[in-house]
Amino acid sequence: MPQTIWHQCLEVLRDEFPAQQFNTWLRPLQSEHQDDQLMLFAPNRFVMDWVNEKYLRRIEEVLKDLQGGQAPRINMRVGSATAARDMVQRSQTANVESGRQDDTGPVSEEEKGVAATVVDRQPRREVLSSAAASRRRNVQVEGDIKHQSFLNESFTFDTFVEGKSNQLARAASMQVAENPGGAYNPLFLYGGVGLGKTHLMHAVGNEIVRRNPRAKVAYLRSERFVADMVKALQLNAINEFKRYYRSVDALLIDDIQFFARKERSQEEFFHTFNALLEGGQQVIVTCDRFPKEISDMEERLKSRFGWGLTVMVEPPELETRVAILMKKAEQTNVRLSSEAAFFIAQKIRSNVRELEGALRLVIANAHFTGQEITPPFIRESLKDLLALHEKQVSIDNIQRTVAEYYKIKVADLHSKRRTRSVTRPRQMAMSLAKELTNHSLPEIGDAFGGRDHTTVLHACKKIVELQGTDTNIREDYQNFMRLLTT
């Protein structure tokens, strides 16, 4: 059976189901033909269950029609076709069933969720092989421990912009990099989002490796630690897991706050943490808050976080923000004047990530329009980012704004009065309502004292016409657009 049978089937289904349903549930399925069966791979077990329940019968019917009455056997699985191909090769060498020791403490619902992808209906050997093929971090649960650092090489001390806000954190991090497992163990870096904690953490890891290329440094987010642990428990490979994490020279765990409510992970991390500290291996942890303030975390763990050095990273001050922008622009080979950098840094004050996002947006717009990056260009580019975007406004709001602007009453806009001092603002308000809302013209007419939709049309035409001949009206219109949409 050629693989195109599935594509033919998809073509039929595409015509039968609404695009939304098709794109959500059917299009993502990947197929693989093995022997006399058609294996369909769903990205996760929910998609698999949903397809099984809602679409499988129809899929079978279509395939039967396409095959002239002989329906192939369908085997639904979680994973990908690529992984399945690898699985066939790996299943011969994987020896996962024997020699595993168990340590199956209670795992919370949150922890189960983290590793949901391995909980499917496949036999265990295949689960592991499939997971092994699709995950880079499979090594620690397979017995063949290979250290993968997952360090981002671009995050170094050289690329870190130092300022008053992060001076102490940088200095402490450098100390740790020079003397891992020394006095500052653990190093606990905390602060708000997007301030460079992760950058510093990677910088330490990279520096340790630069000084000692044989050093085993492992960086991972706390969620990955949880996922690996749950997977190891499910595969009876918890001892491999422990051995892996306790064998590194430096363990760098990012965003530790996501251990909250994951009791089993906290327990495991607690023991790993103790083992590493006793062995003189370095631990670095980042968090969005001070250790004592972490909720749903065991007290003994919070207390241990404070044993070494706890340093806060603060939001960068203006000069640092300017320096960060200049550095980022330089890294992307973009010419950014200090005036332009200063302008962005003044507008974006909260964190470095947002600052970089702003710069990215400005650069993209400059690239698309071919314009130079100047403060007016930046202002226009950042309009969206600063939430100065066009919002859907109500007719009430338009009427209030217009009445206030022209110093008349809202009731005048609803009234039958036809003096110039009232008709022009009314026409202006109607025109704005048409431009800025989705209301129908009859609805707009109704909102202005029950006028006919033709009156609204006339008003809109009039305002367009006047904008071409009367500078005051043009200016008023622009003012209203600015007032109502920012």
Binding site: R14, D15, E16, F17, P18, A19, Q20, Q21, N23, T24, R27, P28, Q30, P43, N44, R45, F46, K54, Y55, R58, G79, S80, G113, V114, A116, T117, V193, G194, R221, E223, F258, D288, N351, R353, E354, G357, R360, L361, A364, F368, K383, D384, L385, L386, A387, H389, E390, K391, Q392, K434, E435, L436, T437, N438, H439, S440, L441, P442, E443, H453
Partner: protein
């Protein structure tokens, strides 16, 4: 099953024209630049996240599907999911999605304030970042104004590029109506289109629903679309 899905009030002939949403049929001058920018940026694998924001009726969902078609045409697999539709399934539904080079999530507002969902999105973002993949989400507001409970997630969305869509103008709406009518094999004279715009709500989705209704009525009654016919069907 198919009949159930398509709803009860349909033509006897059970064929419904497929409305593939592509960049080519995303019409209207007002958002043309934004759509062009999205198409190019969706090819940039170094960009971890794009947020497409705009009010209801600006074509956000259309553009997400267009990104998926475009991505597939480039030989990469992609996935387009509506978060409101996924909500009853729980956040674990996002597991494994980071393996797709492009994941498009429509209507992020559906999960705002829902801590487990926000956290699951945060982890999805991180995994996609690790894999060098791209996440594209739609929202009615910019990330800073969304009111996400998880600051880590808000901050990561702010790290990407925001593309703002504006409400279409009437000429754009007319173009969209005309194009959809043409795809249906329906003759929609301009004056009839303008008449609809003068009488109906001007929300794009509602306008297209009206066109569907007129299409069915016109076929059943074997009548052309004229202003009197539209008036009689719509009760205007």
């Amino acid at each position: 099953m198919v009949g159930d899905t398509l709803g009860g009030d349909q033509l006897t002939l059970g064929v419904r024209i497929r409305d593939d949403a592509t960049f080519r049929n995303y019409l209207g001058e007002r958002n043309a630049d934004a759509a062009h920018k999205l198409r190019l940026l969706s090819e940039d694998s170094t960009l971890p996240v794009i947020v497409v924001c705009g009010d209801s009726g600006t074509g956000k969902s259309h553009l997400l599907q267009a990104v998926c078609h475009h991505t597939e045409a480039l030989g990469l697999s992609s996935l387009c999911l509506n978060l409101e539709e996924l909500l009853p399934l729980g956040p674990d539904v996002l597991q494994g999605l980071a393996d797709y080079p492009r994941v498009c999530l429509d209507d992020i507002e559906a999960v705002i304030g829902n801590a487990p969902w926000e956290e699951a999105l945060f982890h999805l973002f991180n995994r996609m970042l690790d894999n060098g993949h791209q996440l594209i989400v739609t929202a009615s507001q910019t990330p800073a104004s969304l009111g996400l409970g998880l600051r880590d997630l808000a901050s990561r969305l702010q790290h990407g590029i925001v593309i703002q869509l504006l409400l279409p103008r009437d000429d754009d709406r007319l173009l969209i109506l005309g194009s959809r009518a043409e795809a249906r094999g329906l003759d929609l004279p301009e004056e009839v289109g303008r008449f609809i715009l003068r009488r109906a709500t001007r929300h794009t989705g509602d306008l297209l629903d009206i066109l569907d209704r007129l299409d069915e009525s016109s076929l059943k009654a074997q009548r052309k679309l004229t202003i009197p016919f539209v008036k009689s069907v719509m009760g205007w």
